[in-house]
Symmetry: C2
Subunit: 322 residues, 2 copies
């Protein structure tokens, strides 16, 4: 007997691995994707909206509201995205091959959507943020009571014991809006941080990509096609082998309990909002973990340091069912 | 056949583990300790001088020049030391039981001593810094040509992939003078950083301490006695078992090649001198190490991430020979 699916609000900057996470949420029996907010990050916010609408349309789920959110971080301007990672269109050059969106434009912005959904699903809504945290910070600012209406917040972002990706100690989602990230981790709600420590351990390689390309599912095929470029980048610049890290979809799986957390203590977390060389670092105070393997009293952020292996197979199974 | 011993200038804030490092240098056939400069850090600089002079006198080496150095960091004031770790006298309460110093006061300060030794041993002098790096920064400021006259600089300090000790990401020696540390790692000389990543892996426990207490060497017995307090602190606050990390002496052993470096890439290193939560962090750019296990072109700082086990036995053997 399956439990009731969890209502999920997704906040994303679609993005190749965002597309995988979206596919995971659309196919998983544990999730009921009730709305998507978009944000600057991998690409500008308008492109994120367009990509997301086309992807939900491709999945036959044009009924899911997709709302535009922040076009820039709390401080400063949109950084220009990551075309060298995700392609100029954000999804590896496949946008034009996707169907035109059938989704009806949503009234209001991503914050309006998130606040409305939090009232419709009081105590049940899970937030999954896989881009910069600007929309969530705006939502907390507009309605601090939000913290009491959501069941939890899962964030793909940060690096605790491993190097960053855009800077020596900073991961891209946090780097793109450290001030917003600090607002989110400091708010009195349960946050689960899924950092590079564990997302870099889950990879997809060319063999997996071929399986997607050969799938009966149009969504899976689109993912396979856009991953071509992503594997190039990771192969050349990051990993030294043609494979890619499953950052965003892993966070979806962790949120839904589909991948077991092996080590994930609740510890104090502060985001470095200085202008120094550590800007954008998620400073996780792991000093206690030398003698204590477990949660620190009063800490509201769970840092997922390690997860069980094998997620890529679940992801492929789900994408083939979209 | 032994190689010629290496002339060594030690810069220290003596300190319990400093006393162990000093003993290591005094006994090792690979080292010729030609001078010691003292600095604020674990204790105020005057106490560091007094402790060091008494210890070299105890070892029958009152001939080694011991010079006072900086009493405060480049920016700000002396932080007050760490009496909860090292005791009020800096060496676990044993100072008064040590002989009065016979060492003749040195002309000039630690910087004078260091610069003089660098001219007497051009191209051969190894610097071992096991306190805040204030003296070295002053020396570089006073005579930038120093970089060409020393064989190398080994620093106990920092944390690359593990938590700090005084702050979530900051280790004490660096934290006590980040600006000086940045001067030292940015100077064009070969620096070997021995951070908590490896020093925390080398511990001394009560059984080892008892061996020191039972030794025929007065120096070893003094170390055994002062370690009583150090083991208390580490047991209660850091490790959760009665044992202590061999921070400073391990750096001596690494410098002298008595402990093998297992993993120690040269990578870009920057010290966080901001006023943010990352202040004092040694930001080691290890991103390259995902695909490359080895040195980064142009980087002058070798970060010792891992060393061969077993150092404590060598240390005990050496201390018994002081």
């Amino acid at each position: 007997m399956h439990p009731e699916p969890t209502p999920v609000y997704l906040d994303c900057d679609t993005g190749i691995d965002d597309a995988l996470a979206l596919g995971h949420l659309l196919a998983s029996p544990r999730a009921d994707l009730v709305g998507v907010g978009c944000v600057h990050g991998n690409i500008d916010v308008d492109a994120a909206v367009e990509n997301t609408r086309r992807l939900v349309t491709l999945a036959g789920r044009g009924d899911i509201p997709v709302a535009p959110g922040a076009s820039a971080p709390l401080v400063g301007e949109f950084a220009g995205g990551a075309p060298h990672v995700h392609g100029v269109d954000g999804i590896g050059g496949v946008r034009e091959s996707l169907p035109s969106p059938t989704a009806v434009p949503v009234d209001g912005d991503a914050v309006d959507l998130l606040l409305r959904l939090s009232r419709e699903h009081v105590g049940e809504l899970q937030l999954l943020a896989i881009g910069p945290l600007t929309n969530l910070a705006h939502a907390l600012d507009r309605d601090p009571g939000l913290v009491d209406r959501v069941a939890g917040v899962t964030v793909m972002g940060g690096a605790a014991r491993v190097p960053g990706n855009v800077h020596p100690v900073a991961e891209a989602n946090i780097w793109h809006d450290p001030e917003a990230a600090q607002v989110v981790v400091a708010a009195p709600w349960p946050v689960t941080l899924v950092p590079l420590d564990t997302t870099m351990e889950h990879t997809l390689d060319e063999r997996h990509r071929q399986r997607l390309c050969d799938s009966a599912s149009a969504y899976a095929r689109a993912c396979g096609e856009m991953l071509d470029r992503y594997l190039d980048f990771y192969g050349e610049v990051v990993l030294g082998r043609r494979a890619a890290a499953l950052h965003d979809p892993l966070a979806a799986a962790v949120m839904l309990g589909e991948v077991n957390r092996v080590r994930s203590p609740r510890v104090p977390v502060e985001v470095d909002c200085s202008r120094g060389p550590g800007r954008g670092q998620t400073i996780c105070d792991l000093r206690s973990q030398r003698r204590l393997v477990g949660d620190v009293d009063g800490a509201n952020v769970r840092v997922v340091l390690e997860t069980a292996p094998g997620y890529v197979d679940l992801l492929l199974d789900l994408l083939e069912q979209v």
